[in-house]
Amino acid sequence: MLELTGVSKTYDGTQVLQPIDLHVQRGRTTVLIGPSGCGKSTLIRVMMGLIWPNSGTVRFEGTEVTPANALLLRRRMGYVIQDGGLFPHLTARGNVSLMAGYLGWSPEKVETRLDELAALTQFPREGLDRYPVQLSGGQRQRVALMRALMLDPDVLLLDEPLGALDPMIRSELQADLRKIFQTLGKTVVMVTHDMGEAGFFGDTIVLLRDGQIVQQGTLKELVQSPATPFVRQFINAQRSPLESLRGDSA
């Protein structure tokens, strides 16, 4: 679906992405993990055609992404920006339905879809008419997710889409989203820092470090045959939920 060849990116002389080859398979979920600042978000922006690589090409269904066709391709992708990126001048409803309104959806259709999404993300109905500053962090994140899902795009690029959610909503949403992705055959690229989440979603997991792919494969592969010690270290760094209790009791 998405084919990156030799993509590199430099900011002010520092190489943020080394030349990267990556194939995002249709209908599968690819999870990007890696240390903070390793280039995950940059990679996603390149895939969206929001920034342009210094070298290399991105192909979407075989056609090269160019400034000329990026606009139309982007409409076939949903993107959850890392910080939400909500429009402050629009309510939650306005943010989510902006594009649908532009495409001329009927109000009923918009409402129905909004209902579905609010139910999916357990977003409180009364929050729909609040502006971003009036929402909690987790609520804002769910609005961003709803906005990305609104048009039911084939491709979803999700940059830490659930990071600000409480464990309960998060785990339910994880389950629901995975079901959706699988049954509807979505192509998904997701960034997360939660190994549980990465394992839960990831058909393929790509571990980046300093703008380079260190290893890619299933979680199992990464755990069982880490390419470098760093892979093992990274995968195992996360504290388990009730670990301290075990430590306590130990």
Partner: protein, 506 residues
């Protein structure tokens, strides 16, 4: 009558600059109606209105361009046929209009006029020239009837207008010719002089012979027994061709010949100027009293109505030009923000326009757009561009990168991004620009009166000419109020247009 010289010069000048090049463009388009003119002081307006009544009584369709800028303006308008008739004074004709051609005496004047295709009526009656005025009681007590009589009372104190003190045909000549011995002669403005007469601190002052105040203060005007002051007999000037176009109207107009005495003119001036009765009513009443016409049932324009009219005219100028400015400047600002190179050009041009002095801009407009509202609107419009363009440009530039990226990520095309994201985000800045422009607009529109577009500039300029603070305020205060109202209005618009999400405080 020598019109007050100093203050009106400005307006006269503006008119003088503007009129010759433009003419009254509208004239041509209107069906053949008879256009009257009058100068920007009460007596002239009364005479003009009187002529209008008479023409109407003869069935003419009329139009009165009253309160025009000065002798030169009326005279050249008459020559060009922009007006057909206006009241003038013989003294002005020989000393000013025909000055230098050395004509003197009625016959010579008539001939000189005829050569230019202009006719002059017989004199209307009164002579509006310099006179010396005293309180009736004082003059009676001292037995003073003529200026020569003053010689017998060398202790009398005089208070003269500075202009009269200085002018060759004023006090210096009077003193010389009458050999007046008086020492206590001061320069005073008219208002103070009247008060001086009342409280006895001066005994005589200079006046024009038909001044409204003569009646009000009950003054005796001393006879100019040596005849040193030139005569300023009122007459009607009209175009030769009017005789063919509308002989019956000319006949009706000429009923004014010999009709008005000095006392009657004083009474009319007094009614109009001091009692504030509309000139149309004053002149109509006079004609009715003389049984020349039947009561034409004039609708009077009160101060309120005038205010309303000026307000309407001003709002017209402001609203059209502001609307146009918004419609043009916002897109230009957007363009400037989107295309860096072009943006510099647009902002540069808007800036350069702003440096053109307003009067010059108005003058520049005339050849293109004629007189009246169109050039005024155009000029005001041009001055309104920069703040809106600049603030639109800046507002769009100030949108945070994250918001821009969100919009791009949605795949919204740039037009829709502009409409749905950029403009709402920049709305507060754009509105600030519009508010600045609106206020500049209200201010600049007062200049519209200089080229006949009306509005609050009208009373301001008339007031400057008449040295009438009240009248100046009649324009300046509503203009200031309008500025406040406009700002308030846009504050309300801001509540609607600036999205609530941008106004929320936590």
């Amino acid at each position: 009558m020598r019109a007050p010289q100093i203050l009106p010069a400005l307006m006269a000048a503006a008119w003088a600059v503007l009129l010759p090049s433009a003419g009254f463009a509208q004239q041509a388009s209107a069906e053949r109606e008879i256009t009257f003119g009058s100068k920007i002081f009460t007596e002239s307006v009364i005479l003009g209105e009187m002529a209008v009544h008479l023409a109407q009584s003869a069935g003419a369709r009329t139009r009165h361009r009253s309160e025009l800028g000065g002798t030169q303006v009326l005279w050249s308008a008459l020559l060009r046929g922009d007006i057909d008739v206006y009241p003038e004074y013989t003294g002005t004709l020989s000393q000013e209009i025909l000055a230098g051609s050395g004509v003197s005496g009625e016959q010579a004047i008539r001939q000189a006029l005829a050569e230019r295709g202009i006719r002059m009526s017989q004199i209307i009656g009164f002579n509006n020239t310099y006179v010396i005025g005293m309180k009736e009681e004082v003059a009676e007590r001292l037995g003073i009837r003529t200026i020569s009589d003053l010689r017998r009372h060398p202790d009398l104190k005089f208070g003269f207008n500075n202009e009269f003190m200085d002018r060759g045909d004023g006090w210096p000549m009077l003193r010389a010719r009458y050999n007046l011995p008086h020492q206590d002669v001061r320069g005073l403005n008219h208002d103070l002089a009247y008060r001086g007469l009342e409280d006895g601190s001066i005994h005589a002052m200079d006046l024009y012979s038909t001044d409204a105040e003569i009646q009000y203060y009950n003054l005796r005007t001393l006879e100019d027994d040596l005849g040193v002051f030139s005569t300023y007999h009122a007459v009607l000037l009209y175009r030769d061709d009017l005789n063919e176009r509308a002989p019956e109207v000319v006949a009706a107009l000429l009923q004014m010949e010999g009709l008005i005495s000095e006392a009657e003119m004083v009474a009319m001036n007094s009614r109009a100027k001091l009692d504030g009765v509309d000139e149309r009513v004053v002149s109509a009443d006079f004609l009715v009293a003389k049984q020349i016409i039947e009561d034409p049932q004039v609708e009077v324009e009160g101060a309120m109505a005038r205010l309303l009219r000026n307000t309407r005219a001003h709002l017209f100028l402001v609203s059209i030009s502001l609307m146009a400015a918004i419609l043009i400047a916002v897109p230009l600002g957007i363009l400037a923000a989107k295309r860096a190179r072009l943006g510099q050009v647009i902002l540069g041009i808007a800036g350069v326009i702003q440096t053109i002095p307003s009067l010059a801009l108005l003058v520049l407009m005339i050849p293109l757009l004629g007189l009246g509202e169109p050039p005024a609107i155009m000029a005001v419009f041009l001055y309104s561009l920069l703040p809106i363009i600049r603030n639109t440009y800046t507002g769009l530039h100030d949108i945070p990168t994250g918001i821009r990226e969100s919009a791009a990520a949605l795949g919204l095309p740039s037009g829709a991004t502009l409409r749905l994201v950029d403009l709402p985000m920049a709305s507060r800045a754009i509105l600030a620009g519009i508010k600045i422009s609106a206020v500049i607009n209200v201010g600049t529109a007062t200049l519209g009166a200089l080229i006949g577009a009306g509005g609050y500039g009208q009373p301001i300029l008339t007031g400057i000419r008449r040295d009438d603070i009240g009248l100046i305020l009649e324009g300046a205060v509503p203009a200031a109020v309008l500025a406040l109202v406009v700002q308030g209005l846009f504050d309300l618009v801001e509540r609607v247009l600036v999205p609530k999400g941008l106004r929320l405080k936590r």
